[in-house]
């Protein structure tokens, strides 16, 4: 397979997931599009250097996370004090889930997603979000969180059961 074909295949496989991942964090369509463009340009520039022994999804996730971390770090000095206080959680990469759910509650209350997830632990929320909202499969989530595929599957099903109880 030529490099072009390989890259196109890779792009089509991952663009939706990466976009959801970024958009969930920043909640701004234009900003998310800019960030995703930059991430894929980076991926293209280093596509030849990619180590085949590693998972491509993990590699892409690492690039995405690093790019977002740099973005929040560079953005900080230009923010107003109010905006900084408001986005305090958002700037922290560890708090992405909390902020994303908060934003989802504001914008998409009719889907009751935040209400559904509110009763879960942070780990379970993360698993459900990654699988049901971003579209990552269990094996990929296992690579991100350092668990086996089966363990992720079991944990996600338990989280769903928990959600059902709380309805």
């Amino acid at each position: 397979m030529s490099k072009k074909a390989a890259f196109e295949k890779f792009y089509l496989e991952h663009i939706d997931k990466v976009y959801r991942f970024v958009f969930f964090r920043c909640q701004d369509k234009a900003q998310a599009e800019d960030l995703v463009s930059e991430i894929f340009i980076k991926v293209l520039n280093h596509f030849d250097e990619y180590d085949e022994t590693l998972s491509k999804t993990s590699w892409l996730m690492t690039i995405t996370k690093n790019h977002l971390a740099n973005y929040w770090r560079d953005r900080k000095p230009t923010q107003s004090i109010d905006a900084t206080l408001e986005n305090e959680d958002m700037d922290n990469e560890q708090q992405w889930l909390k902020h994303g759910l908060k934003a989802l509650k504001k914008g998409e209350s009719k889907y009751q997603i935040s209400e559904l997830l509110a009763h879960l632990s942070q780990n379970d929320q993360e698993l459900v979000t990654m699988h049901y909202l971003f579209g990552y499969n269990y094996a990929e989530i296992g690579e991100f969180v350092g668990m086996t595929e089966t363990a992720v599957k079991v944990a996600t099903h338990r989280a769903i059961k928990e959600m059902r109880k709380n309805i």
């Binding site: 998310a32 894929f40 889907y111 997603i113 559904l116 579209g135």
Partner: protein, 248 residues
Amino acid sequence: MNLHQRYNLLRAKWALAPSRQFKIALLRKLTARMNQPVAWYQVSWVRFSYTVVSGILIVASVSASAYAYTSPKVVVGTPLYTIKQGLEKIEEKTKVTPEQKAQFLLKTIQRREAEKETLERDNKDIEAVENQIESVARKLHQVSDSMASTTVKSDLQHEVVNRLEKQEKHWANRQEKLMLHQKEVEDKFKEESDKISSSSTVKQTDSNESEDRSAVETKNNKLKIERESNTSDYIKSDSERTQDENDD
């Protein structure tokens, strides 16, 4: 999970998805970028080799400078000597107080002497180095005068005085050697002139010898003038110093 929940999650997933236009536009942009020919300086191995070469150059220049600065084997006439002198000039400019200057000049004299030893070992001309030592010693003399008016470390002053005394002795030896050499030249000249006067047979040879004689005389005069100027300079500086000491 019931159907309603599943539907809600699915709708949320759709809401987070990118637009079709964006996906197509980004893919076009990336494909166009991929088709662009890469400039030679953007090729990874070229960039890597640039980094390596510049790293090697930096390390080489730093180590060459360090070697030139510290090694007594870097003497007049070697390619690194210019770097050595440049570094010494810079170092000299950083010295502000008379004490610092004196310490630096003492160090410089030691270095020049080490260079002189190297030159002597290699049977090379030491005239240039000796002149440099002379000039540094003169500077040290001036600095020691300014040091005398200030409260300085006695060790340093002692060292400076010792060095100057040593330099004076050296200078006296040099003068003595110069005078001996002068005397030898004069004796030789006398012998030659005697020979010339005794054998006045052919005029042609006479004229040639007179030319030789005049050449020897000129050389002799030059040496004499040089010697007198050196002596007067040194006597002058010495008398000034003695005057200062008396004043103190």
